[in-house]
Amino acid sequence: MADDDFDDEGRANVTPVADRMAAEALIVDIDGFEGPLDVLLMLGRTQKVDLLKISVLDLARQYLAFVDRAKQLRIELAADYLVMAAWLAFLKSRLLLPPDPTEDGPSGEELAAHLAFQLERLQAMREHAAKLMARDQLGRDFFARGIPEDITRVKRVTYTATLLDLMQGYARIRTKDEFRPYAMDRDAIFTMEQALERMRGLIGFAGTWTDISTYLPDGFTTDPARRRSATASTFAASLELAKEGKIEIRQSDTFAPIEVRRKD
């Protein structure tokens, strides 16, 4: 049954013995083939002619014999081998029967020519693949540098500063300089204890409202730093005395002079 399907001429099992032999040989090595085109190429080689002048009809017959044989031997052929077989059977009928004028599509000759072209192209690629692999190869025939020198990455650090950094740096030093003696130089400070002592001595005479700035000690009124220190300590001392109930404090308005008076 199956055999008939593949033989358009209706004469089952008339494939030449040579074809059968070839088919048998192919089947033994079916795993070694890279698809139907590979098988066709192999079969074509037995014709010993230029692939372009190959008899596609013979090729089709041989291929069909190969598939036929595989079936008889109950060898599972991949789907594409069967697709090719069906197509070759179709091609064979096209080549053998007179062209049907009502039918569209390519002629049998066109299809055959294309198949021949495909085979020749595959053959050519194989030959050139071999040529390519036969070339001198890096690491086999010629060699790269054995001691490559790594490029060392050098990190270069550049320092930068802005004019602002510079000026701020200078200002920092200069202002620090102005106060530098301060840490050692206690005479710029008028402590609260000193102010308290001074106030206690003087407050007895303050019967009327008096600005606390008049209580600043001599020598602490002109130099800004000294005055600031004395002002702060005198004010703190006043608060302390007020807490003790010794004096009264008043300020008529924000930023107005702070005045003190003895509390009787």
Partner: protein, 220 residues
């Protein structure tokens, strides 16, 4: 061109003499195993150097020597002379043997590039396994090229500089027998007449299919 002129003008002032530039290229190329482009070299040389010119001298100097200056794509490398390979058996690296499928696929990519997977399958008549392509990609012998401007915009494959370097080719144009293949029309992608079985259809990866339309637009 004008850029070239600019470069020359500049180099009149501060670039080292050409003999010194040649020395520099020599040192740089000797130090590296990989091919370097003119740009790579100039990036490391003093400002205003003309590596291309220096290489002309360098190549001549190494002509016929045990080590040669070779061009690889648009890059340059020092390689031992191929006729002395026999001395280097110790250095020979066992390269993984490529399967027949891989070799064929590689050759098809080299000769037909840029080429889609569907086109490779059409030429070989079988589907291309993922592993084959992966292996070639991994070896850095092939890489993805631009997508084809055909339906589905399939990716293409092209060979790499590493491939050229490995086979000692200056460019893909120097592939053995390329001219003959082209003259014989074997690099054309002839559209199959209708009703031809399509190759490699069973491949799940071959979604870039419907090659009828593509093949017409295939140019090499």
């Amino acid at each position: 061109m004008s850029e070239d002129a600019d470069k020359k003008e500049e180099s009149l002032f501060d670039a080292p003499p050409i003999a010194e530039q040649e020395r520099m290229c020599e040192a740089i190329l000797f130090a590296t195993a990989e091919p370097l482009t003119i740009r790579d070299m100039e990036a490391r040389m003093p400002h205003g150097c003309d590596a291309a010119e220096a290489l002309v001298y360098l190549r001549k100097r190494y002509e016929g020597r045990g080590v040669n200056l070779v061009k690889v794509g648009d890059a340059w490398a020092m390689r031992t002379a191929p006729d002395l390979g026999f001395l280097m058996q110790k250095e020979t690296v066992e390269t993984r043997k490529l399967s027949r499928a891989a070799v064929e696929t590689l050759a098809i990519i080299a000769y037909h590039q840029p080429v889609t997977r569907a086109e490779i399958e059409e030429i070989r008549g079988v589907s291309v396994s993922r592993g084959t392509v992966d292996q070639l990609l991994e070896m850095e012998w092939i890489r993805f090229g631009r997508r084809k401007m055909t339906p589905g915009r399939p990716v293409t494959f092209v060979v790499t500089q590493t491939f050229l370097d490995h086979f000692g080719l200056e460019s893909a144009r120097d592939l053995p027998g390329l001219k003959e293949l082209r003259a014989a029309g074997l690099l054309e992608n002839r559209p199959a007449p209708g009703a031809m079985p399509q190759m490699g259809e069973g491949d799940p990866d071959a979604d870039e299919q419907s090659s009828e339309g593509q093949s017409e637009l295939f140019e090499d």
